[in-house]
Amino acid sequence: MAGDSVVVKTRKFMKNPLLSRRQMIVDIIHPGRANVSKAELQEVVGSMHKTAANLVVLFGFRTKFGGGKSTGFCVIYDSEDALRKFEPKHRLVRLGIETKVERSRKAIKEAKNKGKKVRGTGASIAKHKAKRAANAD
């Protein structure tokens, strides 16, 4: 916990109106410190770009060899709805907005193998079965 300050720089700024967000690369210089937590960074970057901290998503941080310098990616959404809509599930879980759904691996594999036997969506087969059942009655 040295008294040195942390410098946060952004580069390669780009607007992405299709996903209603702004994306950039974040460089952090933190001599004497191990790492800066994402929560801290959210506030810092939010103040830098004049947005609320909860619309800022940070990911992919890697510290350079020797320490003191890290690089990562940052994405700032225009609204909470856009965030929920466009962010991938694992990052929403990290932010705490969604919770992880526990699904056993075995169940997933079984469902997938069952689906392999049906060609396409299986809508026409279902219709045919219903018709058969109706005819039998």
């Binding site: 390669k12 994306q23 690369i25 992919g60 890697r62 990616f73 994405v75 045919h128």
Partner: protein, 397 residues
Amino acid sequence: MTSDQSLELLTCIAKSNSTVTTSLHRSIQQYTHNNEYNAKADGLDYLQVKNGIMISYLIDLTMLLRCKLNAGGDESKDVGEHCVKRLQEMKVALEKMRPLEKRMRYQIDKLLALSTLGAGTFAAVGQEEEVKDGSDDEERGEGGELDESDPLSFKPDLQGMMNMFQDDDEKQQPANDSDDESDNESEIEDKHNVTLEKDGKESGVYQPPRLQAMPFDNNDLIHEKEERQRQKQLARMQRSELAEVVRAQYTDAPEEEDIRGGAMLGKQREVSKRLAQREADVTEFEETHMIRLTMGNKEKKERKRIMREEMSNLGAIADLGNVVAGVDDAFGDGTRGRGRKQDTVGNEKFVTRGMRKRKVEVFEPQSSRKGKPRTQNSFQKDLYGGNRSAGNSRRKK
């Protein structure tokens, strides 16, 4: 005297020429004008036309040369002009014939081969011929057969194609019989199921349909591989530090030094340059696509190894690795390769494992080794000759 005789001969030829041509003219006119000549039946063969045109082209050419040599008088000029006109006509005719010949080439070649090698060499048209040809082939032996990979021996297999269509027809017949509308869908389904089951029962492996035989030459693949390896080694030797130093001696360009004063030259520099390039590529990709890539285990290990070697400075002293590889292949024992064993060096047996020769304990009588020749590659054979060893030369003296 021979000159008199030749003069006589030439005058004789000239006289007989005149008589023969006149009589020929008359007979040809009679033949054509009496409707004995039918263009369709008696017409010229394509090949005959070609040969005839070639010969008359040559004749006209010599005539033209003679006219040019004489060069005096109007007569020769006229004759020369007529010659040139005829030559032009013939040239155009030959050019028009060329594409025709190209299309017929396969058939002509086949007929030629048939005439020289006999009828049993080609894929049979019908089954009867197959039976006959089989017996003929046995009698004739190797001389009359075309090589299996020769493209001339392949013919489209019409019978096979017929079989393919027949199978389809058989499968479709039961479908055409049913006329009920209510059970239509179920029948279609059953038919589909039946066909699927049939295919499944025959074999689980997909086999592509065999429509035409194709020639396959395995030697090409081996040669290509060897060629590629040779090229790679050549390129590596050219890029090596030794070659660069020698090249630098003979160029007039000014010498270049890097910031470290040329301390880490050669292989090490190349490798680290390549690494740096790769790292730059990776970071570029990551930053444009905002995604982090992972490094595989192999890459990690290689990097560690290179870092370790970089710390030590042995490479700067003398790294002849690239050159040594080629030299060793030429002058070495020829035993470094995949699992090649060398018989003996002196009285002991060695096995090449990795980069080193390891001694192997073998309990065998020594006399057995004298019969086996030492393995040599072509370079060594040229240099040192056959299976000579130093001892033999002494014995002869």
